[in-house]
């Protein structure tokens, strides 16, 4: 082979590996059960080299899956080493500390054999609707109550599917057939990837992936290093206060930037709590890395080398580094706050270049009917994104999560609920030269005359709204009430009595820059659109209807 063509071939191969993952992820997304999983693309797919290092990953997928899976393959191979694997074998686990942070997420890893030798692995992760235990709530006191945990084992041995394992999962699930279907889909999508990878290696007459691995890792490491170097060397600290289950939780980070390497120490954060909002370190690290990468290295693909440049550590037993048997179902309440914590550090490194705080954790809305026909409906209620330097924050859009809401019509077909309204909540976006994204007001009741049960596990930021930056004001805190007068103040289970309704108002994003600097035409437009009140226009934006600034 002449060296000059190698460079082109390596480029082509890198593209092809990403394409293999895309196919894998597309197949998986279509096959997923549960509207929320599908709408969200709550899954990931990736290809790994023989050492278990991630080479490429589908661009779909939420950061929580994307970045945790990078570590899952090697972790799983410690339980069943490569020399014990044969062609056809596939490994599986839903261990929160090996996979994606809670028992709902299953990871399947399939080795690729060429001439009897493992040349790489395909892995995929997706969210299974129900695996038993207490289902979707933060009520469990330990992971043992959260559903069945499958240690690393073979989902398939050679051509033989592990039906015993599938039976165990199905028997423990409230939706056995869907659970089985979702796990089989992971297997099938990996098989698609395995066959693609095999063909690619034949086409390029490759015996292994080492040359292309080196190219991908060298380029990514170099590119990441220079992109991260935009942040000046130094040590930056940031803190964030969350509502917690029923008592405030503090998240604390010390970020050290040194020549394109970023180390994050979360050691000042609160101790793990007794309810299921704790976060395993793998999931915390995944979201922390996402926050840093979205700001500094958005164009660099995810792989081992680009992720290696960011190290996240914490002593065990904190809310960000919970250990077994801490309950972890709603771990995203903590995990999804980490990007804002990281951006808080980076704001000191790059003042004026960082977006304001966003609403953080997805408000997962789990409503169950307790009447004649039992049902559970899962949807999300989204708040505003923080204002960006030069742009307003996006309204009712999740950040950092990539999950979108299930359409009202779909939600009402799936469960006997009525959404009475779902509209922007005026004045919730933090005031600023650039306004924070708006939260929304959603009003829901039962269709029949029955009591509904609500898990408030993920309703976060009910006490303090997302912070503004550069003189921008904080976004409004969220608020959840029931029409019988109940105010929701913790993450427990609440009853919505028959005939009553649930009213949610999601938080607004923080503002960016001084409100008086906001373009007058834009303030006038916000006012005529009813996105801000007259009161806010005059008092916060110093706006006079004639367009002049009050003094």
């Amino acid at each position: 082979m002449s060296g000059e063509l190698d460079i082109v071939a390596r480029n082509v191969l890198w593209n092809r590996l990403i394409s293999v993952c895309e196919e894998q992820a597309n197949a998986l997304m279509r096959a997923a059960f549960g509207a929320i999983v599908r709408e969200a693309g709550d899954l990931s797919a990736g290809v790994f080299n023989a050492d278990g290092d991630m080479l490429a990953q589908a661009v779909t997928g939420t950061p929580g899956h994307v970045n945790t899976m990078a570590a899952s393959v090697r972790a799983m191979l410690q339980f069943i080493p490569p020399d014990q694997l044969s062609p056809g074998d596939a490994l599986v686990t839903n261990d929160p500390w090996l996979g994606a942070g809670h028992v709902f997420d299953f990871v399947v890893v399939t080795p690729v054999f060429v001439d009897g030798k493992i040349v790489g692995y395909l892995a995929s992760t997706s969210h299974i609707v129900d695996v038993g235990g207490r289902g979707w709530s933060a009520e469990a006191a330990s992971v043992f109550e959260e559903g069945v945990t499958i240690p690393v084992m073979r989902l398939r041995r050679g051509a033989q599917l592990n039906e015993d394992l599938l039976d165990i999962v199905a028997t423990n699930s409230r939706v056995p057939h869907e659970a089985r279907g979702d796990i089989l889909s992971l297997l099938t999508c990996n098989d698609t990837g395995v066959s693609r990878l095999g063909k690619l290696m034949t086409e390029y007459a490759l015996d292994d992936l080492s040359s292309v691995s080196k190219f991908i890792f060298d380029s990514s490491a170099q590119g990441t290093k220079s992109a991260l170097a935009r942040a000046p060397n130094g040590r930056y600290e940031s803190k964030l206060l969350l509502d917690g289950y029923d008592a405030p939780i503090e998240l604390s980070a010390a970020m050290t930037v040194s020549d394109g390497q970023i180390d994050v120490d979360l050691s000042g954060s609160s101790e793990a709590v007794r309810r299921g909002i704790n976060c395993p370190l793998n999931y915390s690290a995944a979201y922390a890395a996402f926050g840093i990468r979205a700001l500094l290295t958005p164009d660099i693909p995810n792989n081992q080398a680009s992720l290696d440049a960011i190290r996240v550590t914490a002593p065990p037993g904190l809310v960000v580094s919970a250990e077994r048997p801490s309950p972890v179902t709603a771990r995203h309440v903590i995990g999804q706050a980490l990007p804002d914590l990281m951006l808080g550090c980076l704001e000191q490194a790059l003042p004026g270049e960082v977006l304001a705080e966003s609403s953080g954790a997805l408000w997962t809305m789990s409503l169950s009917g307790t009447g004649k026909v039992p049902f559970t409906s899962l949807n999300v209620a989204l708040g505003g994104m923080g204002a960006r330097p030069g742009m307003d924050g996006l309204s009712t859009t999740a950040f950092p999560s990539g999950v979108g809401a299930v359409p009202v019509e779909v939600a009402e077909v799936a469960a006997p609920l009525i959404y009475h309204s779902k509209e922007f909540a005026p004045d919730t976006g933090g005031a600023g030269a650039y306004r924070g994204g708006l939260g929304q007001r959603i009003e829901i009741g039962a269709r029949a005359h029955e009591t509904l049960s609500l898990s408030a596990a993920a309703f976060e930021r009910l006490t303090t709204g997302p912070a503004g930056r550069q003189g921008g004001h904080d976004g409004a805190a969220g608020r959840v009430t029931i029409t019988d007068g109940t105010e929701i103040t913790d993450k427990g289970i609440y009853d919505i009595p028959a005939g009553e309704r649930l009213i949610l108002q999601t938080p607004g994003g923080g503002g960016f820059g001084i409100p008086a600097d906001r373009d007058r035409d834009v303030v006038a437009r916000d006012l005529s659109d009813g996105l801000i009140s007259t009161e806010a226009a005059t008092s916060l934006y110093a706006f006079k209807p004639n367009g002049r600034t009050t003094t």
Binding site: V8, M29, V59, D191, S226, G404
Partner: protein, 687 residues
Amino acid sequence: MVRFAIDIGGTFTDVVAQTAEGMSSVKVLTSPSSPEVAALDGVERLLTRISKTHADISHVVHGTTLATNALIERRGAKTGFITTAGFRDVLAMRYEKRFEQYALDIALPEPLVARPLRLGLAERVLADGTVALAPSDAEIDAVAGELRRQSVEAVAIGFLHSYKNPDHEHYVAARLQRLLGNDVTICLSSDVAGEIREYERFSTVCANAYVRPLMSRYVGKLQTQLQGKGFNGSFLMMLSDGALTTVDQATRFPIRLVEGGPAGGVALAAHIAREVGSDKTLSLDIGGTTAKICFIENGTPKTSRRFEVARAWRDVKGSGLPVKVPTVELVEIGAGGGSIAAIDGLGRLKVGPKSAGAEPGPAAYGQGGDEATITDAHLAVGNIDADGFAGGIIELEPHRAPKAIARHVQKPLGLDAVEPAAAGIIELADETMANAARVHGVELGLDISGFDLLVSGGGGGLHGARIADKLGIRRIIVPQNAGVGSAVGFLHSPVAFESALSVVQPLSELDAEALAKRIAAAQTYVKSIVADVVAEDQIETVIKAELRYQGQGLDLTLPLRTGEAAEFGGLSERFEDRYRALIGFTLDNIAVELVSVSVTARQMRDEANATYRPVDGSSAPSARRNIYDITARGSLSYNVVAREGLNGQTYHGPVVIPEAQTTTLVRPGWSVTKSDHGHLVMERDAS
């Protein structure tokens, strides 16, 4: 009998006339402020050329991007939107998710209807179609007052669950029409896109209302003026799904016209596929800035009911306005002749999606463009000849191509010659297009290696063979010169109309009798539309059911024969067979759900499928050219053969066939012949 096709694009208006003797065409500049002017001028010129008059024209088939342009440029009507009280922000909230995970600076399109014009009305239909709250006349009257006060020209109405029960939309529309008068256009979401998912349905009805006044005026003018000149034949419009419809329907649902132009291109590809007897065809059109792919089976392009117009952020998928109308399923790839090759921050060679466009264009255009493009790469390896490029319209400065490539690609990559760098650019473009085709194939559940590749556009013949190699495809079709492809495609399109019924019910709970009645009614409706211009005995109906496992997103489409009640009995088994074939297993104990049924009435195709047959005659290769080859890692000597010289003869690659608008590369391992319709057919040699 003379048939005319008029394709109005953003820049050019193509007019094609088809007579018994053959086709002729004219290209004129589009007249943006009153597009009918250029169209009428083109028609006039062409009539003069073929010595005919307006009265001789039996059909005019018209396609246009005007609706699309109005949406992109926001030149539509002042539109109001009436919706269920409490839901007026559905249009602005969209999917409530970011379409790019890592980009923090994404922007969303402004809704077509601003918030003060989005009015809630107290009314409610539930998910099962029952009425929880009927609209009050007093409130409708108040809404009418507000609409009049804001002097709206068009009104879109979209209520929750109207796909299931449209009564409230009809009631409110009737009363508003009386109150507002006939000058105000009123569109209903249940008419325009009667499917579940409020955001997409509302978005579609608003887009329809927004462009309707403009499109009605324009189409009306064009038709009247043609008639004023003596035309009294039928006037049909090209829809996004490659079918033709009457002016009446087109102006009721102008949103269905948005992809008419590209659909014409696909219609031509489908026609050629039928001519050469290809029943599984992958159409790949490689233009100046992008490439478009579409799968065609049995001469019928794949369609879907999802499309996005007017993308607001870097042309990224997800940043536009969704419209739920039947559309040819085109996947657009950012790789065309003008796509720029460069080394990114990671030291990777990237080709596209950034394009040098026509201005300044590739470096070799000598118009100040300094970037290395795919066209420059073709020049540098010797794939194309600088002389006579694009039919001689563009005078090239070929020496600029290797310079640009050396600077932007060869040196940064550390290569010691420009040719391998240029070949690398082409290889990466081929890879990008092949990957997109493969991923799309997986989405549709198709085995791509069993397809023929039909390449068109300026770059089609250059890239076809290598892409086919990558996809395992064994036959390639390069149609003869089709510079006005879309307009020609219009002439090969059937009159058809499609309507979709949302069902969303498990098969086990289906009221088959009631559904059969709905299907029968829909059949009558779509047939009546087509029957305006097509004789009854020339109309066929196609019924398709979309099914899935309840809760899963994988919809499979199965054809129904009659749509009668009895046919739903066996549907579950048919679904499982198809599922097994596609996925490899079935899911027991999960209900199979009927999502929707689509009903299409279509003009029957005259089955003039020619089978492939070589023609006699022969001619010798005229010259040789050296071309740098990526797989040979060096120069190969290609025979230069003219298309005319191919008569009846089979040539084995390496052969290059230069033409005015394109060049076809017959790579080693491929042979080429000419079909009796003049198309080039390449086959992979047995190996």
